[in-house]
């Protein structure tokens, strides 16, 4: 029963990892910007939801809507007013990364100053597990996480495959010059990538605020998982990032079956290392030749 419990826990955690990883992968794949502040987007949406829902007692759909609006705004502002000027000044990949890292540090400290650096969580009956079979405990949030992840991913695939802006996003990841040839503005398409990628962290952030709880430094962990999942899944592959997020969540939990909990985080790096050595292109990535 322990094994089954760990698999179910892993699927829940993996679904949330997948959602955050897909957002990062979408931005990175389309714009080639290493958006380190993706973790900050996660933290912002989680804390906004916490403040509105748990402190101001705003109805939860409004709290989620406000989190969505703010986090999209954050992503768009970063793209337009931080990354854009750096790119215009021919800033290198590393310069943009440092800029993004700086933003993440500022946001972490701002959250710590406003909300405190201690642990907070959104009290909810949804995070309370019930014994569904003898010795097997499942919380409603597990089902919500899986269903939300599937719905978001399917909706994203439809958006990217069947809308003009979605197709433009895919084109941007292939060739910005091609986007320009078709009369589109790569900057505007890039902004859409940031808006959409940032939006995707909201469900994971809201559910995490209920299940694991939050602290001001949570963005760092989110980034670690997002980067690992993007590499394991194959850079630029959203399907790969989603599957890799799920794999990392399940592997982390399955490690507990035989090893001490402190080794479960090392599993993430072992998988990452194995993919870098044995399959550098990841699950679904393409081999890039220069």
């Amino acid at each position: 029963m322990l094994l089954l419990q760990l698999i179910i826990n892993g699927i829940q955690v993996g679904a949330l990892y997948g959602l955050t990883a897909v957002g990062f992968s979408l931005i990175f794949g389309a714009t080639k910007i290493f958006h380190f502040a993706h973790g900050a987007s996660f933290a912002i949406s989680a804390y906004v939801f916490y403040y509105l829902y748990a402190v101001l007692l705003v109805w939860w759909p409004f709290a989620i809507l406000a989190a969505c609006i703010l986090v999209v705004l954050f992503g768009v502002v970063l793209d337009r007013y931080v990354y854009g000027p750096i790119q215009s000044a021919d800033g290198s990949f590393f310069t943009i990364f440092v800029g993004s890292f700086g933003v993440a540090v500022v946001i972490q400290n701002l959250i710590g100053t406003v909300f405190g650096r201690g642990f907070i969580s959104v009290p909810s009956a949804l995070s309370r597990s019930v014994e569904t079979l003898p010795g097997l405990y499942v919380a409603p949030t597990a089902g919500i996480a899986v269903v939300t992840a599937v719905v978001c991913f399917v909706a994203l695939q439809l958006f990217l495959g069947r809308t003009n802006i979605g197709i433009a996003l895919r084109a941007l990841s292939e060739s910005p010059a091609l986007v320009r040839t078709f009369g589109l503005n790569p900057k505007a398409v890039s902004t859409c990538a940031f808006a959409l990628g940032s939006l995707l962290v909201v469900p994971a952030a809201v559910l995490t605020s209920m299940t694991s709880g939050l602290n001001a430094a949570i963005g760092g962990r989110v980034m670690l998982i997002s980067v690992a999942a993007t590499i394991v899944g194959g850079v630029g592959s959203l399907r790969g990032a989603a599957c890799a997020g799920l794999l990392l969540g399940i592997a982390e939990n399955l490690a507990l079956w035989r090893f001490d909990p402190q080794w479960s985080e090392a599993v993430t790096f072992l998988i990452l290392f194995a993919f870098i050595v044995l399959r550098p292109s990841g699950f679904f990535g393409r081999v890039v030749t220069s």
């Binding site: 029963m1 322990l2 419990q5 760990l6 826990n9 892993g10 829940q12 955690v13 400290n109 710590g112 405190g116 650096r117 201690g118 642990f119 969580s121 009290p123 995070s127 309370r128 597990s129 014994e131 010795g135 405990y137 919380a139 299940t211 694991s212 709880g213 602290n215 001001a216 430094a217 949570i218 962990r221 982390e252 939990n253 507990l256 001490d260 909990p261 402190q262 479960s264 985080e265």
Partner: protein
């Protein structure tokens, strides 16, 4: 022109000399606290107490000049602590430094010994802290004493014999594990499982599954900061209904106000907050008024650490001796016993205070922590 210039130089020299004299009378000590990062809640708690002690000492004019504290941020990390200690010793030239957290305290102890600077710990409880040399003092009983108070209470009074330990794999967690391993068999109890977690882990649903699988009577948590709240919440959310127990790391407002922590037991040194002794009464009353928080053992410890400095420095000043680490140590040994919050305390030869312990229960709303037994 020459006489005028000479007068100006003379006046300037006198001003500098006077300024130097004034600053020589003022006293400064150092404090290495976690002021940022996941454990900043502790630093905030400690500062509330140290600032209160400083204002009390300055109000009573017990010292020849005004006392102030130079704060440095350790982030609860040993390497940051060493950087902070070097700055306090070499730049600020302090002779007395307040320290917190077992790892940080151990890291700064070598500098304390080498520079003959007194380092006083009021928050770390790793038993190793009693072995860091004569310049390292502890105004808090260490974890081995906490486990020795808690384990018999749980076994004999509560009839809980099967323990599971969830601990951070650091010197503190390891020492608690060793203490449980050595003390439980003699009590007729067992340590069924010891699950180590890394200090930055945030997911504990799998740990909860392992805990449930071990079928414990009691789960002992040896973590600190935001993480221990996460562990409690996730254990409770994931079907762990057994008694929770811990060391004095639970003596923070975040745990007292966490609904899932209701009923958890934890040890601290014995402090009667309703005591009639004037030091305790003044601290309890003014700490609550100043911080809007109930006093905790940690707050009392750091208040005591500053008060201890005040007593020693004042005695040295009266004797016309410089306030150096060596003289502070000599004077502490001479005086022997001190009136601090909680009553009269004495130091053991290893520089650690010995104190009676108490078992506290997190009583939930409205965040009251009750004393349920005293050892």
């Amino acid at each position: 022109m020459w006489p005028l210039r000479k007068v100006a130089v003379l006046a300037f020299s006198m001003l500098v000399a006077l300024a130097g004299r004034a600053s020589a009378q003022d006293l400064r000590i150092g404090a290495i606290f976690p002021l940022s990062g996941a454990n900043a809640d502790y630093g905030d708690l400690y500062m509330g107490a140290t600032e209160l002690a400083v204002s009390h000492l300055n109000d009573t004019k017990a010292l020849g000049g005004r006392l102030s504290i130079a704060y440095e941020d350790s982030q609860a990390l040993p390497q940051q602590g060493v950087i902070a200690m070097n700055k306090l010793v070499n730049v600020e030239k302090v002779s007395y430094v307040l320290s917190a957290f077992t790892g940080v305290s151990k890291a700064i102890s070598t500098t304390a010994t080498r520079s003959r600077t007194v380092a006083v710990n009021g928050g770390g409880v790793g038993p190793d802290l009693a072995e860091l040399g004569e310049y390292f003092w502890n105004v808090i009983p260490l974890a081995n004493f906490e486990v020795r108070a808690m384990a018999p209470y749980l076994v004999r009074k509560r009839g809980l014999k099967r323990f599971v330990l969830v601990y951070v794999d650091d010197p503190l967690g390891q020492s608690i594990k060793r203490e449980l391993e050595s003390s439980l068999p003699s009590l007729g109890a067992t340590l069924a499982e010891a699950l180590s977690v890394s200090s930055n882990a945030q997911q504990f649903s799998g740990v909860a599954a392992r805990v449930r699988d071990a079928k414990p009577d009691v789960v002992y948590i040896a973590s600190f900061g935001a993480q221990q709240s996460q562990i409690i919440k996730q254990l409770r959310d994931n079907g762990v209904t057994q008694q929770l127990a811990s060391y004095s790391g639970f003596a923070i407002p975040a745990i007292a106000s966490l609904p899932e922590a209701k009923g958890a037991l934890f040890t601290t040194q014995r402090i009667d907050w309703n005591s009639d002794d004037p030091v305790t009464r003044r601290f309890t009353r003014e700490y609550q008024a100043r911080t809007s928080r109930a006093p905790t053992a940690y707050a009392a410890n750091y208040y005591n650490a500053v008060l201890l400095y005040g007593t020693l420095a004042s005695t040295l000043q009266k004797a016309g001796l410089p306030i150096t680490g060596e003289n502070l140590l000599t004077k502490r040994r001479e005086i022997g016993a001190f009136d601090l919050v909680g009553g009269r305390v004495t130091f053991e030869k290893d520089g650690t205070i010995r104190s009676a312990m108490q078992i506290n229960e997190v009583a939930g709303e409205p965040a009251v922590v009750e004393t349920v037994a005293v050892h």
